[in-house]
């Protein structure tokens, strides 16, 4: 097989893997939008906040240390212990559940019945608030996530495929972290689907997503379901934060990963979990393929904008996205 074709396959495979990483972020958006009709602008910041909290707990950092020291004249920064990864993840999940409760109790309970644009604006405020709280709690320095996730190319795969297309083919490169992320995404999506299909609360969540009024009339607590959905979105944000944070360290640019999820949502639809996955795969593969084939001719760095071009093309022909629910407005 010619080397160029082999490299093209490598680009496509890595595009698919990158797409999975985008999907991890997009999933959180879909969960909240599907259940409450809110486009959660704060999803990227939630990923940042969750990862910061995890790293902070693992390192035994004192939350709000800077503020405490400024007020009381103390010099405390660390508790002096390190928390094992699994325990820290469990504690971070609890923090995200508390966050979901607080969001519901102090923000959205007061905005029931408001226009979607108002709810969207509230999430913008929430995003900046959460970014500030994250900074105050854990500081703005870059934190390393020592979860022991594998990194680097799979040497086995490289060695096994090296030389297939001649001496200038160095074997297929697949990042081990991307393989882990793909496994995690599969488990996550399967769990979310199983939860929504086979559990009482999952069915209640779907009922709320279908029709708030009808769900209320059969005794489903909207308040509880929304806390549940925000908690699930918080958990998904934690997973996305861990995967992205493992690449770059946990830092404030993590909040910008939401920008990678937007074209995925536009393409896959805002209401479909499978759509978020397929959308991510198409965007990941499409942008990497475009960069590989046309990037060198036009100066490169095409991925950010090309993802949106791809999404816009789908949007023009199918406004609800590939998997979104069809928009029907009756007069």
């Amino acid at each position: 097989m010619p080397t160029n074709v082999l490299y093209l396959i490598e680009v496509l495979a890595n595009g698919l893997m990158a797409g999975v990483m985008y999907s991890l972020v997009a999933l959180g958006f879909v969960l909240i939008f599907k259940a409450s009709g809110i486009f959660n602008y704060a999803q990227g910041v939630m990923a940042l906040f969750a990862a910061l909290t995890l790293a902070g707990i693992m390192e035994g950092q004192v939350p709000f240390a800077h503020m405490i020291n400024a007020v009381f004249g103390t010099k405390i920064h660390h508790f002096g212990w390190h928390v094992p990864a699994l325990a820290a993840i469990a504690m971070t999940v609890l923090v995200m559940i508390a966050f979901a409760w607080a969001v519901q109790r102090f923000v959205f309970r007061h905005l029931v019945g408001q226009e979607p644009i108002i709810l969207f604006m509230a999430t913008i405020g929430l995003a900046y608030f959460l970014e500030g709280v994250g900074d105050l709690m854990w500081g703005s320095d870059i934190k390393t996530l020592a979860l022991g996730l594998p990194q680097g190319g799979s040497r086995w795969l490289e060695d096994a495929t090296a030389g297939w297309g001649g001496d200038d083919f160095y074997g297929f490169f697949i990042d081990k972290l991307d393989i882990v992320a793909t496994g995690v995404a599969i488990v996550l999506v399967a769990s979310l689907i199983a939860f929504s299909q086979y559990t009482k609360h999952g069915r209640a969540m779907r009922a709320v997503a279908d029709d708030h009024q009808a769900a209320l009339s059969v005794g489903i607590s909207l308040n509880f379901i929304w806390i549940l959905v925000w908690s699930l979105a918080g958990f998904v944000a934690l997973v996305a934060g861990i995967m992205w944070g493992a690449k770059s360290g946990v830092q404030f640019s993590l909040s910008l990963i939401a920008l990678k999820a937007l074209p995925v949502l536009m393409l896959g639809g805002f209401t479909s979990i499978p759509g978020a996955i397929v959308g991510g795969l198409i965007i990941g593969m499409g942008e990497k393929l475009f960069e590989y084939t046309f990037g060198p001719m036009i100066g490169g760095a095409t991925e950010n904008w090309f993802a949106y071009v791809l999404a816009l093309i789908v949007l023009v022909f199918r406004p609800q996205g590939l998997f979104g629910e069809k928009i029907i407005e009756r007069v």
Binding site: D135, F252, A301
Partner: protein, 428 residues
């Protein structure tokens, strides 16, 4: 309440809220929040701590206290301009925006307002031409010096020839990242190496395509012009594809501790330029700890002291303070104006003896500034990350850039700027 009472109350509040009059106002356009905070925070800590040291230990500069006015830019150009506009009225003497994007916007404004702009190792490279950019200074080194220093280092590593070698430049797709391209293209033609350009979009969280391309094309060396998360991801991706880290060299904005620590042991051997040597045992640090940190006046939490960007921020503050002291000496007044500071900066001379006297011997090279040269001598060292010990190790002494390559480019770009803006080059 009547309108008069309201007006009186507003006036009283305004007067009460007005800052105490201080003589030397230094705005600090910092970024402690947002995606670039990890770089902005230590620089700002060093910048402020040094001025606070001068206030606490020496009673200011020439008997005048320094008042720092901090304004958060978030590394955002629009916010940076807002910060400039909102602080210049306080009697600002000098700006150090730590952003090439903000610098480009401030050059015409600062020139019109006659306030010196110091863009140390960043900003518009051709600002080194003082006859055109009367109010802008970029000493002790600029981007084109950095590109030339990198190539000179590689020439030294390859027996004086790079003929037939392949060098890739991974750069932030912004005004900052594009700065070295022309210089490297000229150097490529001169030394016979092939140059591949690989742009990475802001913020640089995703670089898989670029590093797969590097893996395919197998360059001998990769140079990097990165900032923020782009640096950490690039180091990790280089390690992922198994690129030899000792052949990967970042510029001086890609060589801080936080750029390499997220990759852990995989970052071992990565190299970068530095315009300021680091040495945790500098006497000035002991003074800062004693007079500033222990007194509870640290700009941050005190944890950044001695790090690469903290040292650079402190170095920048020292250069500003020396400019002020020089201006006071020239004009015979302690309460100087921005125009007088400009004179002080334009005749600044930094000697090794003076650096020793200031407790920061060896941090920067000796250099002098003149009307025709606002850029200093452009020296840089190459340092290498030792992941085991968690520290940068200097590999070289100061390396000289090739002025024969950089000066014509500076002259050409400055002449174009002068023509575009109807500037008649000359000294003030």
């Amino acid at each position: 309440m009547t309108l008069k009472k309201l007006a009186a109350l507003a006036l009283t509040t305004t007067l009460a809220a007005a800052p105490a009059v201080a003589d030397l106002v230094i705005p600090d356009l910092s970024y402690r929040t947002g995606p670039y905070a990890a770089g902005g925070t230590p620089f700002s800590d060093g910048y402020q701590d040094y001025f606070n040291l001068l206030n606490a230990r020496d009673g200011g500069i020439g008997g005048e206290a320094v008042r720092i006015v901090e304004c958060e830019t978030g590394y955002n150009t629009e916010k940076g301009v807002e910060c400039y506009e909102s602080t210049k009225g306080e009697g600002a003497l000098i700006y150090q925006p730590l952003s090439t994007g903000i610098t480009y916007q401030l050059i015409p404004k600062a020139t019109a307002d006659q306030i010196p702009l110091h863009t140390m190792g960043y900003g518009r490279t051709s600002a080194a031409k003082g006859e055109v950019f009367n109010w802008v200074f970029n000493y002790p080194a600029n981007y084109w010096d950095a590109a030339s220093v990198m190539v000179n280092y590689l020439l030294g590593e390859n027996g004086g020839s790079l003929d037939g070698k392949k060098i890739a430049l991974v750069y932030h797709n912004s005004a900052y990242g594009k700065e070295p391209i022309r210089t490297l293209e000229n150097l490529s033609a001169q030394h016979g190496f092939k140059l591949d350009l690989l742009a990475v979009d802001h913020p640089g969280q995703e670089q898989k395509s670029q590093w797969l391309q590097i893996r395919r094309s197998r360059p001998d060396y990769v140079l990097m012009w990165g900032w923020g998360v782009m640096n950490q991801v690039a180091v990790q991706e280089a390690a992922n594809i198994g690129f030899p880290m000792e052949n990967f060299i970042g510029n001086w904005w890609s060589g801080a501790e936080h750029d390499v620590t997220p990759a852990g042991a995989a970052a071992n051997g990565y190299k970068s330029l530095n315009m300021n040597r680091i040495n945790a045992e500098l006497p000035v640090f002991a003074d800062i700890k004693k007079h500033v940190h222990d007194a509870g006046n640290a700009a941050g939490d005190g944890s950044n002291i001695g790090k690469v960007l903290y040292t650079r921020g402190m170095y920048a503050a020292m250069l500003a303070a020396e400019g002020i002291a020089n201006a006071q000496s020239i004009h015979g007044v302690s309460d100087i104006t921005p125009a007088q500071l400009r004179d002080g900066m334009e005749s600044l001379e930094i000697t090794n003896a003076r650096m020793e006297e200031l407790g920061m011997g060896g941090v920067g090279p000796a250099f002098s500034v003149s009307c025709s040269d606002h850029g200093g001598n452009g020296l840089g060292i190459v340092q290498q990350w030792n992941a085991g010990e968690g520290k940068w190790v200097a590999l070289t002494d100061y390396i000289t850039p090739d002025d024969a390559v950089t000066q014509p480019l500076i002259d050409e770009d400055a002449a174009a700027f002068a023509a575009e803006n109807n500037i008649t080059p000359g000294c003030l």
